[in-house]
Each structure stands twice: as structure tokens, then as C-alpha cells.
């Protein structure tokens, strides 16, 4: 696998508190990678160590196969969870400043910044002070500042927090567009429905440790197990009586039918067709939220 970011055995403790404990994962080039976990799991600390904002106690961060350093980290565009801009600066000047400290020439930075302001309909605000902008506009500004230098890797810490649905949509579209251009995106979040459709890979962190990592497709299949979504005119109790069925749960207007490990879905379907009018029969693919909650609960049970 061609990994743009490879994290190996990263650890960080603050006094007695372990913030990150022996964390390893790699981010495939060109993927949208979800760094997931509940609040306080250690996501932000991990990202800050990748960005060299704080030093790790042990472990390595490889960027493009080599240890990250102060110059190499500039291929990353980083959007911190706590947004911040200089309130008294003018919008366009601020963007040019952010571009310049990331290595762009002022002229080039200005050209790109103007183009982005155009795209986000912020052009009329170019000479206003940042503090005059609404919160949503400031968020967009912050995002433009993050991508102005065309990073190969984008690390976004809770990118959608505080955005309304329209702005969220706009930002998602832009991210997908960038992904299509080959930019790797790391999304750190605990709000899962927002990233479910975007991530191809995930790493789930709970209490400083990774508890689940890999391709989302595979994780879904593993978590889904031998479970099927059935829509028919058969009653729940009748279904439960069929051979090989372990459990049946209603899910909205469907029934979730779990077969035992060796159970043949073909036989179940045949039995269904014999007994009822089948409208649909599909494999159950759990969403990220289900996976997340179950994994975190299992982790807790495991520790207890």
C-alpha cells in the first residue's frame, strides 16, 4: 500500500494522563481517511504530533515515507479544531498572509486567494475586516487559508462543526473534488453521519488506543456479519421460526434477520418466497454510527 502518512507506535502522556498510547495506522494516498473516536480519545493530540505542534514521547510519523520535519510538514493543509483568525486583518490580506507563511509568493497567494473568494461568493468582503464576517463566512475563509498552498494531504479536525447544512454541503463537495484531484484527506471527527459517505478508510480511537482500523468496506462486512434486510408481508414471529434464523429485529419498515454463521441466505430467500410476497432482500450494511457505538461498547466491556 502506498501510504502518504504512516504513524508508528505514537505515544504521548501528560503527567499521569495517557493521551495517546502506542498508536499506529497508515493513510493510503488518495483516500479519504476517517480518524474517529469519542471526545477526548486522543484524536487532536495525534494530529498535533503529526503537525509537530507538540512533541511525541515516542514513535514515528512518516510523511511520504520519511520522518516529518518542519519543512516537509508544509505539504499538509491543517485545519485545527479551534478555528482562529486575526480579527483585525482584512480578508484578502489575511489569506495572502496565510499563503505566504506556507511558502507562496505574495503575488501568487493573492491570485489564488481572489479566485477562491470568487468561488465562495466572498469577493465583496475582500477588503473588510475578518471580524465583520459572519461565523460561517469566517469558517470558509479559514478553509481557503488551509488549502491555498495546494497541500497534498489535508488534515481537517472537526471540519463541519458549526456549519449549517448548506455550507456543510458546499465544503463536502469541495473535499470530494479535491479527492478526485488526488489530494488525500484525513477527517478527524466524532460526528459520523457527516463522514459516513466520504471515508474509504478509518481508524477508530478510544481512550488513547486504536480499536478498529482498515478499509471501511471490510469493517462494514465484518460488523454486518450474516445479517439480511427483509421487506415482505411475513410476520416477525413467522420469520423467527424459519431454519437457521438466530434473531429478528425490526428496522423501520423492514426486518433485520440474523442467520447463524453457516446459514445460507439462498435457503432463507427460498423459504421466504414460498411463504410470502417478498418486496426486497438485501445484505445489511451497518452505518458508521452503528459500528462506532458497538466498537466503543465492546471496548468498554473488554476492559471491564
Amino acid at each position: 500500500m502506498d501510504a502518504i502518512l504512516d504513524i508508528q507506535h505514537l505515544s504521548k502522556r501528560y503527567g499521569d494522563h495517557v493521551a495517546v498510547d502506542d498508536l499506529s495506522f497508515s493513510v493510503p494516498r488518495g483516500s479519504v481517511f476517517g480518524l474517529l473516536g469519542p471526545n477526548g480519545a486522543g484524536k487532536t493530540t495525534t494530529i498535533r504530533m503529526v503537525m509537530r505542534i507538540i512533541a511525541s514521547d515516542s514513535g514515528t510519523v512518516l510523511l511520504d515515507g520519511e520522518p516529518v520535519d518542519d519543512d516537509r510538514r508544509r505539504i499538509i493543509g491543517y485545519l485545527p479544531e479551534e478555528r482562529g483568525l486575526y480579527k483585525k486583518m482584512k480578508v484578502l490580506e489575511h489569506l495572502v498572509f496565510l499563503g505566504t507563511i506556507r511558502g507562496l509568493r505574495p503575488g501568487e497567494a493573492k491570485k489564488r486567494a481572489s479566485a477562491w473568494l470568487d468561488r465562495f461568493d466572498l469577493n465583496e468582503w475582500a477588503t473588510h475586516k475578518v471580524e465583520d464576517l459572519s461565523k460561517g463566512m469566517q469558517q470558509k475563509l479559514q478553509f481557503i487559508g488551509t488549502i491555498l498552498h495546494r497541500p497534498q494531504l489535508l488534515i481537517l479536525d472537526e471540519p463541519f462543526s458549526g456549519l449549517d447544512p448548506i455550507n456543510t454541503r458546499q465544503l463536502k463537495d469541495l473535499m470530494l473534488e479535491m479527492r478526485d484531484e488526488g489530494v488525500t484527506i484525513v477527517l478527524s471527527t466524532h460526528v459520523l453521519p457527516q463522514v459516513d459517505e466520504m471515508c474509504s478508510e478509518i481508524c477508530l480511537i478510544n481512550r488513547a488506543r486504536p480499536i478498529l482500523a482498515g478499509s471501511l468496506e471490510k469493517i462494514r462486512a465484518d460488523f454486518g456479519g450474516n445479517t439480511w434486510r427483509v421487506r415482505s408481508n411475513l410476520e416477525e414471529a413467522d420469520l423467527r421460526a424459519l431454519p437457521g434464523v438466530v434473531s429478528v429485529h425490526p428496522l423501520r419498515d423492514e426486518l433485520l434477520v440474523e442467520l447463524d454463521d453457516g446459514g445460507e441466505p439462498q435457503e432463507l430467500l427460498r423459504a421466504l418466497v414460498d411463504r410470502s410476497q417478498v418486496e426486497s432482500f438485501t445484505r445489511f450494511i451497518p452505518d458508521l454510527e452503528n459500528i462506532f457505538i458497538r466498537a466503543v461498547e465492546e471496548d468498554r466491556d473488554h476492559v471491564e
Binding site: 491543517y78 483568525l85 486575526y86 507563511i101
Partner: protein
């Protein structure tokens, strides 16, 4: 790296130079300073003018001698002061006369009333009643002449010859001359002290003001969270350095504007155009201006670094107050010690204190304005200051690095020490 630091310097500089506050303070300060510097000189010379004083001589015999004495005093004077004494009849009720004359002073017929009691010169005290008792040249002349007339009268009463008395009691003034490095002598009537005082005040105020700007700037970056965005691309040390240099450049810009204004004001044509022809504005040697800039820059770098550390360690100005006060105290101590230094600018205490880096910007500069300071002392003060700046930068950079990401609990001194050790 240089480009990034330059971008930060530029940002800090422009953000401040563009504010109204900067221009208001830049233009107002010289105005006040000018007032402080010019006013005393102006007032001292302002003895000029015509004064008319009503005299109620209850003794009946002092009017003429006093008038003569005044004429004699003013004869050698080139400051265009003329005093006309107008004899008043005391009348049957001297108190009523005094009241009447007071009214006339109010009506501007006289500038003041001089009352000489009948008991003079043995007892009592002459009175001068006037709306403006700050016209000190006039007061000086009045007091001196009344005094010498009374003394002469007493001596004559003791059987001495009036002319001889005058001869013997002839007053000797003290002529003050400032001795320069090259042995040259210049007339000095306190201007050099005024100048020293004002310049040291400017160094103190600007170092304090711009130091606090650095602290506020750091606090602001912290509280607005913008700092995390910046240090994900720029090293914390580069950010700190850029901020200090950018704000220092604002200070230098301010001095530059002040110098230009000052040069414009002290241009010969300008002074006379303002109607202050011969008030004797103190001149500022170029060498002193160079030292001024050098010690401001060194002082600002030293204190700016300390204030940056204070800003990084805390979340709000309230929390930072104690440590800010500590740093500010270092700046205030030399101001308190100024009088000692002025009294003995070459004493051991003065030399030692002026070589202590935290006091150097004020005290070494003060000594330079007062006496010729040996070159080695000046060189040593600069070397010591540079060493102190480097040492402080080394320590503060560590506090800064840890502190700018810290939010929440207010750190104590032992936490700061731990940051320095662990960073």
C-alpha cells in the same frame, strides 16, 4: 525561513501602524513633550513685558529707594522687562485703600499692589497682591529690590554709609557652565537636566508600552486560537521573533516621525516664526540620538521578550497581572533611582547600576546625557545587554513553546520552571 519571518514582521507592523491609535499617539506625544520642553524655557524668558505696580508705602520713605533699585537692576537686563511703580496715597484708612487698589488690579489698571508696612524694616513683611503670582521674573526683581533696600536701610541705621553698603552687599550670581568631553564649556541653566529627564522618560514609556503590546499580541493570538494555525507552518520561535521585531519596528517608526517633527520645529526660521525667538531651546547632540535608539532597541528586545513570555504563559491579561507587574517593576526601579544617579553620575553606584542589563537602557542613557561616560563602560553595557537578551530569549522561547497551546488552569512559577526544563 526568512520569508516567513518577514511575513510575520510585516503583518505585525502593518496591523499597528494602520490604527488610528498609533497616529494619535505619534502626533500627540511630541505636542505634549514640546509643551513640557518649551514651556519652562518660554516661561523663564517670559519675564519680558511692561508691568505697572501700585505701591502703598505706609512708611513713606521706601518708595524712591525701591524704584531706584529696580531701575538699577533692570538697567543691565536685556529681557525687555519694564516695571513702573505708581505711588499711592495710603489715606486715612490703609486697609480700605488696599481694597480699592485690589479692585483696580481686577480692572486691569495695575498688574499688582505692593504694600510696605510702616513698621519696616524692623518688623513686618511687605505684601505683593496680584492675580498672576507666577510671573517669576517680575517677582524676582521686586523681591530682590525690596530686600536690598531694607537691608541697606538697616545697615545705614547701624551707622554705615549707604554707598559703601551697596558696594559691600553687591549680589553675586552663580554662572553655571556645563563641561563637555572636549573641554568646551556651554551655558546651562538646567536644560540638560530637563533633556535627560525627558529622554529617559521616553525610553521608559516606549519600552513599557511596546513591551505590553507584545504581551497583548501574544495573548490575543492565544485566545483567538489563531496561534495553532500559524505554528503548524512556522516554528513558535519564528513567530515570537517576528512579533517582537515587527512591534519594535513600529516603535522605531514612531521615533523617526518624532525626529522629523522635532527637526522641523527646531529649524531656525520655525522657532522665530512661532514668536519664541530667543527662548534658548535645548539642542540635542546627534550622538545622543544614536545612543537613544541603541538603548531603546536593546531595552525593547529585552523587555519585549520577557513580556512575550508572560503573554504566552497566561490566558488573559488579568491572569498575567502578577508576572506582568514583576517585569514592569524591573523597569520602574531605575526610574526611582534616577535622582541618585543625577546627583552622582560618576559614582560607583551609578556605574554598577547602569551596567545591570535591566536598568541599562534608562540609567546608562541618563549618565550619557549628564557626564562623559568612559567608552569601555558603554561597550560593556551593550555587551551585557546582548548577553541578557540572548539568555532571556532562550528561556522565554521554551515557555512560549509550551504556553501558547495551554488553556485553562493558570500556571504557577513552578510550572513555568518545569516548562523550561522539559521543553
Amino acid at each position: 525561513m526568512l520569508n516567513r519571518i518577514l511575513a510575520i514582521i510585516r503583518r505585525e507592523y502593518l496591523e499597528r501602524v494602520r490604527t488610528k491609535a498609533f497616529w494619535i499617539s505619534t502626533l500627540l506625544v511630541p505636542f505634549f513633550l514640546g509643551a513640557v520642553m518649551i514651556l519652562p524655557a518660554y516661561l523663564a524668558a517670559r519675564g519680558g513685558g511692561e508691568f505697572s505696580v501700585a505701591v502703598v508705602d505706609l512708611s513713606g520713605r521706601f518708595f524712591d529707594p525701591i524704584r531706584d533699585e529696580i531701575d538699577r537692576l533692570l538697567a543691565g537686563d536685556d529681557e525687555k522687562l519694564s516695571v513702573t511703580l505708581v505711588r499711592q496715597d495710603p489715606g486715612p484708612d490703609p486697609v480700605a485703600t488696599r481694597e480699592r487698589l485690589k479692585n483696580e488690579v481686577q480692572n486691569k489698571r495695575f498688574d499688582g499692589v505692593l504694600v510696605i508696612p510702616a513698621t519696616m524694616p524692623d518688623e513686618g513683611q511687605p505684601e505683593y497682591v496680584a492675580p498672576n503670582v507666577a510671573a517669576f521674573k517680575l517677582l524676582n526683581v521686586l523681591e530682590r529690590s525690596v530686600n536690598s533696600v531694607m537691608v541697606a536701610d538697616r545697615l545705614t541705621g547701624a551707622g554705615l554709609d549707604p554707598d559703601q553698603v551697596r558696594e559691600l552687599t553687591h549680589r553675586v550670581g552663580l554662572k553655571t557652565l556645563k563641561l563637555g568631553k572636549g573641554g568646551e564649556e556651554t551655558r546651562d541653566q538646567g536644560q540638560s537636566f530637563m533633556l535627560a529627564y525627558i529622554f529617559v522618560m521616553i525610553i521608559y514609556m516606549t519600552v513599557l508600552m511596546y513591551g505590553i503590546y507584545v504581551m497583548r499580541g501574544v495573548l490575543e493570538e492565544k485566545s483567538s486560537h489563531v496561534v495553532e494555525v500559524i505554528i503548524s507552518t512556522v516554528k513558535p520561535f519564528e513567530l515570537m521573533l517576528g512579533k517582537i521585531l515587527g512591534i519594535g519596528a513600529v516603535g522605531l517608526t514612531q521615533f523617526l516621525i518624532w525626529s522629523v517633527l522635532m527637526a522641523a520645529v527646531s529649524a531656525p526660521g520655525m522657532v522665530s516664526a512661532m514668536g519664541m525667538g530667543d527662548i534658548g531651546l535645548p539642542t540635542i547632540p546627534v550622538q545622543l540620538l544614536v545612543f537613544f535608539v541603541v538603548y531603546f532597541v536593546l531595552g525593547f528586545l529585552l523587555y519585549g521578550t520577557l513580556y512575550a513570555g508572560v503573554g504566552a504563559a497566561f490566558d488573559t491579561e488579568q491572569e498575567a497581572q502578577n508576572f506582568q507587574g514583576l517585569v514592569t517593576m524591573l523597569l520602574i526601579v531605575p526610574m526611582v533611582l534616577m535622582i541618585q544617579i543625577i546627583n552622582q553620575p560618576d559614582g560607583t553606584l551609578a556605574v554598577v547600576l547602569s551596567l545591570f542589563p535591566f536598568f541599562t537602557p534608562m540609567l546608562m542613557f541618563l549618565r550619557l546625557t549628564l557626564v562623559p561616560v568612559p567608552a569601555w563602560q558603554v561597550a560593556a553595557s551593550v555587551v551585557l545587554m546582548v548577553a541578557a537578551i540572548l539568555a532571556c530569549t532562550w528561556i522565554v522561547a521554551k515557555i512560549y513553546r509550551v504556553g501558547i497551546l495551554m488553556h485553562g488552569s493558570k500556571p504557577k512559577l513552578k510550572d513555568l520552571v518545569r516548562w523550561v526544563r522539559e521543553a
